[in-house]
Structures are given as C-alpha cells and as structure tokens.
C-alpha cells in the first residue's frame, strides 16, 4: 500500500506533477537525442577512418608499432591465419607487408610507403577498388602497382608508366624492383594521398626478400562495439610474439578528440539536468511543506518516520521515472528517424568533408545503453533530490508538524 500511497500522492496536484514530468521528459529526450546523435556521428567517422587504412584491429610482430621496420615483421603461419579468422567477431582480414621506399621515375625520386596486399582482401577492408580514379585494380600475384594520385603527380606518373622502388629488404639486403602502374588512387587523407603505393603481396614479398612474412594483419569486425572482446580473444589465442592493437591504440589522437567532444556534451547535459533538478526539487519541497500535518498525524498513528521517508523517496522515483519513460518514448522515434534519415549537410562544409574522403552525413545511432544510462541518471537525480525531504521527515517533530 505504500507504493499505492506514493503514486496517488503524486497526483494530489495534477498540474504541478504533469509540468514536472514534462520537464523531465523534455530533458531526457533532448539528452538521449544529443548523445545518440553524437555517438552516431563519431561511430560513422571512426568507420570512415578505420576503413581508410587501419581496420578496427591489427595484428603485428611484437614491437612493430613502435619501430615500423621489416625486422619486426612476422611469419604468417597457417595457424595464425586460422586463429585470426576463427575468432568470433572477425569478419575479414587483409595481410600486409609495408616498407618505406624510394619511388623513382626517370630523374624524379620521392619517399613513399610501399604496401604489399592481397588485393581482394584489401578491397573488402578498405574499399580500395572504389578509390581508383584511372586505370584498373591489381590482381593477386600481379607485378603491377597502384599509386596514390598525389605521389603520382609529384613523380609525373600515369597509368602504364614504370615505377622503380628501392628499399632495404629483410635480412638487410637491398631491395629493388620495377612495376608498371595499373591504376591511380585518390585518398581523402592528404597523408596517404601523397605517399602510398600498393603492390600485390606476392610481388612485395619477392621484392623485399621476405617470403611468408607480413608486417600487419588488418581486421574488419562484425560490430565495432566488439572491439575490446575481439582484442582480448586474439591476445589470448595468438603467440606472445605477436601484438594485437585496436584502432584506438593506433590512433590515440582520435580517441582524445572524441573524449574532448564527449566531455563538452556531458557539460551541456549536466547543465540541462541541473535545470530540471531545480524543478523536481521545488516540487518535492512543496509536497513536503503542504503535508507537514499529515506527516505528523502518520507518526502519531504509529507509522515510523523511515517508512514515511520511503514513501517520499518512492514519490520522487515515480515522478522521475514517469517523466523519464515519457522522455524515452518521445526520443525513440526521433533517434530512429535520424538513424534512418541522417542529417546531410551541403555547401562548403560538405566539400571539406568530401576532400577527406568522408560523406558529410550525421547519423544518430539506436543504442540501448544510451536510453538506459539517461534513465538511470534521471532516477539518480530524483533519488538524491529526495534525500533532503527524507532527512527532514526523519527529523520531524509530530507535535510541531501537526500545529502547522
């Protein structure tokens, strides 16, 4: 009956409770939509960034990320490949062998990052084929090369020309090779656009005298949220001579940027919740002051003050929970709509995005923990705010209360 009593008490002043609930619902809706939109935008950006080159997870020889040389490459055994491919959550893998090289055409020479790839596997991971602006894609085992357009411009290269690559091979040997240009690639990232060229994995291994070796296995996942779990599983299953890194570890500056942006958003939500806290608190205080006589009467009749305080806490929970649920119900269709029909921005802003190879699209994401988190936050606010009236009740003098 205490629950019934608390619920009915809320409706003693219907208009006041409805206004309080409406303000809670509005705040919850605004925060859920804001957080969902921000998470959606960041997820989309991360998806764009990782599909540009790194993948969500990479497997390297131990120490490779700190010192990116062929000496830290590793032998790609069947057992390693099978372990990686059979790890739950891993949907694709692209083995790479990477080396810094001098790219030379005629009298022009530039530094570049030469990457040996399995073309089809790489295309599934980074959509490399779609980045070709002229020429054609390469095949497994081919002796042809793909060159980023910035590098091609500097070397005055075009499709059909021959590129000479010089580097240090495995075991310290000199690596030299010449490759006909099959296609020119456009990357959104200026860094990649100025420096990268691709060979087939077989050709690169031959060039670097590093048979069966790779510097990285770049992985795609079924769900980016499984990142930690996949990393943990791979670390447990792979030999200690290998390191498993997530995109977050490989690109900490992006993580930092997300954290900074998220902190800003939480300040905004904090201010929002602070504002509604005043509304909830004033409602609770009014409920407290209006019912002093009643509280005194209940104590006189034999109801412990703790039980009366529990009723007031329940009232606050019901008030905030009802407002929160209304907020969730209102926010769900908005979040769903923004997920299905993302905000698209045009004009100069869109061009800046497109220059980096990204679409200027800002989707939301329907992610249950966001809804649960906001509800719990508001419930927590309600409970904390109800502590004051509850403490007042615990200190209540029934005789003084009944005189009011």
């Amino acid at each position: 009956m205490l629950g019934v009593l608390a619920w009915r008490n809320i409706w003693r002043n219907r208009n006041r409770s409805l206004i309080t609930m409406a303000s809670i619902a509005g705040a919850v809706m605004l925060s859920v939509v804001t957080v969902s939109l921000q998470k959606g935008v960041w997820d989309n950006l991360v998806r764009n960034v990782v599909s540009l080159y790194t993948g969500y997870v990479q497997v390297h020889g131990k120490g490779f990320w700190d010192e990116q040389t062929l000496d830290n490459s590793f032998e790609v055994s069947d057992s390693v490949l099978q372990t990686v491919l059979h790890t739950e959550g891993v949907t694709g893998m692209s083995p790479r062998i990477e080396a810094f090289a001098l790219a030379s055409v005629g009298e022009k020479t530039r530094g570049c990052l030469a990457v040996g790839i399995e073309p089809e596997a790489e295309d599934r991971l980074t959509h490399l084929r779609a980045k070709i602006t002229s020429g054609h894609f390469i095949k497994d085992g081919s002796d042809h090369a793909l060159v980023a357009e910035g590098l091609a411009e500097k070397l005055h290269l075009s499709v059909g020309d021959t590129l000479v690559l010089l580097s240090q091979g495995y075991f310290g040997s000199t690596a030299a090779g010449q490759y006909q240009i099959a296609g020119i690639l456009h990357f959104g990232s200026p860094e990649l656009n100025e420096s990268v060229c691709y060979l087939s994995l077989q050709a690169a291994r031959y060039w670097l005298d590093a048979p069966d070796r790779a510097t990285a296995l770049a992985l795609s996942l079924d769900d980016p949220r499984n990142l930690g779990r996949v990393q943990h599983a791979l670390k447990a299953a792979l030999p200690q001579t290998l390191e498993v890194m997530t995109w977050e570890e490989m690109m900490p500056e992006i993580v930092q940027h997300i954290k900074t942006d998220t902190a800003g958003m939480y300040i905004f939500i904090g201010v929002l919740y602070l504002l509604i806290s005043f509304g909830i608190f004033s409602t609770l205080l009014m409920m407290l002051s209006e019912r002093q006589r009643e509280f005194g009467m209940l104590v006189a009749l034999g109801m412990r003050k703790g039980k009366i305080a529990a009723v007031v806490l329940m009232e606050s929970v019901f008030l905030t929970l009802t407002g929160s649920l209304a907020g969730l119900l209102l926010s769900w269709p908005v979040v769903w709509y923004l997920t299905e029909y993302p905000i698209r921005i045009g004009g100069e802003f869109a061009k800046i995005y497109e220059r980096f190879g990204f679409e200027a699209v800002f989707p939301a994401t329907v992610y249950a923990p966001i809804f649960i988190e906001q509800t719990l936050v508001v419930l927590g606010v309600g409970l904390v705010l109800a502590l004051y009236p509850a403490l007042q009740i615990l200190r209540l003098d029934p005789v003084a209360a009944m005189r009011k």
Partner: protein, 236 residues
C-alpha cells in the same frame, strides 16, 4: 466492569522555552485512567489540554514526570519503540485533517492494520466490521473529500479502533461538526465504550461532549483544578 489502570501519569510537567521565558503548559499533573472510562479533559484555551494529551499519547516528552501505559513507562522509550507502541496501544482522533486524503475510507482504516502487519483477509474483515460499527458500511470506497466532516470523523474513529488499542485519545473531535454529526459521532463512541469497554479520553470545549462524559477533568494553567469522577472510581 473490570477495573484496571490503563493510563497512569505521575507528576507530569511540560515547560516550553525553559531557557528564555518558561511556559508551564502542564504542571505537576497526576492522572489515572482505568479501562472503560469515558473522560473529558476540559479547560480554557491554553490550559494545557492538548499538551497533556500529547504527553499521554507519547507524542511529546515531559520535562519531568512519567507516563505509564498498562504499566509500561513510555517516557523512557526510544523513538521508534515509542512509535511502535503507539501503533499497537493508542488510538488517535484529531480535530481535523484526520485522514489520508488520497486513500479511501476503507484504505484509511486498513492502513493502520497494514502497518501492524495483519494478514489481508483479517484486514478486509475488520474494515467491514468497523465501517458497520461507525454506520458507514456503504462509504468504504469514498475518498475523504467525498465525505462530510462528521463522516470523516467516524472513519477516523474506525481507524483508531482498527489497531485494537488500549484507549483512544480524541483531541477536540467534535470541534468542526454540526450538532447532528457531533451527536452521531458521540453516540458511536459511547456505544463502543459501553459495549466494548473502549477507553476514551477527550480534550474538548464542547458542552455536548462534556455532558456525555462520565468523568470530567478540568485543567487551569496546566494544573488539574477539578476531577469529577463517577461513583465507585477513585482519582487523584
């Protein structure tokens, strides 16, 4: 009628503002009430009636003296123990704002038994009996706002009886009632006193209540100035 002391107040005093301008609301009162009494506490405004009732009901702590209920010293009890003691031993009827407005008449009566952890079936049966006893068998589903003042006080009496208390303290129970409602309420309380030997102690200004009381205690300036006890009962 079995005679047994229900209320035994010894040398009871209550001083307000003891550190500034002391007010002796109750001054060295000795009071004994036995089972089945129907007693009025009368006196002018400010004479200490309500304070004495609050002290006897354990709502307020005396400055000196003690209150024994059935031999138990309630002035020495810890706060929660005292609240529990009231729940099981003392019924209250107040002048106004007696009922919980969001509960129906039945729920108001049942509420006390719920606090006493009485099983549902027994609660339901007793609510029905008590509504019958106060003449409101068809008002169980009505909220207090849907009842007249007299009906609300009758529900309050039913609620006070619900806990099967040792006695009922009623503070100006008829103050806000018209003659007919007051008479009906007093009829019910007299009947409960006569048939079930329920002990009643009223504080009142109301001559209608005083006329029905079998014992009238008059308070003046916090002291008992007269105590007209019925024959066969002895009082201080």
């Amino acid at each position: 009628m079995e005679t047994r002391t229900v209320i035994d107040a010894h040398n009871l005093s209550k001083v307000y503002n003891p550190d500034s301008i002391p007010v002796n609301a109750v001054n060295e009162v000795h009071l004994h009430l036995e089972r089945g009494e129907f007693t009025s506490l009368v006196g002018p405004s400010g004479s200490g009636k309500t304070t004495l009732l609050n002290l006897i009901g354990g709502l307020d702590q005396p400055t000196t003296g003690k209150v024994l209920i059935n031999g138990t010293d309630i002035t020495a009890m810890a706060p929660n123990a005292l609240i529990d003691f009231r729940l099981h031993n003392i019924g209250f009827v107040f002048q106004a704002f007696n009922l919980i407005p969001v509960l129906t008449a039945s729920e108001n009566i049942e509420f006390i038994m719920l606090l006493q952890k009485i099983p549902k079936a027994e609660r339901t049966r007793r609510v029905r009996e008590l509504l019958e006893a106060v003449g409101l068998p068809d008002k169980g589903d009505a909220r207090p706002a849907q009842l007249s003042g007299g009906q609300q006080q009758r529900v309050a009496v039913a609620r006070a009886l619900a806990s099967k208390p040792q006695f009922i303290l009623a503070d100006e129970p008829t103050a806000n009632l018209d003659s007919h409602s007051a008479a009906t309420l007093l009829d019910i309380m007299e009947k409960l006193n006569r048939e079930e030997h329920m002990t009643f102690l009223f504080s009142t200004h109301d001559q209608r209540v005083i006329d029905r009381a079998r014992r009238v205690i008059t308070l003046v300036d916090g002291r008992i100035s007269s105590d007209t006890a019925p024959a066969g009962l002895s009082h201080a």
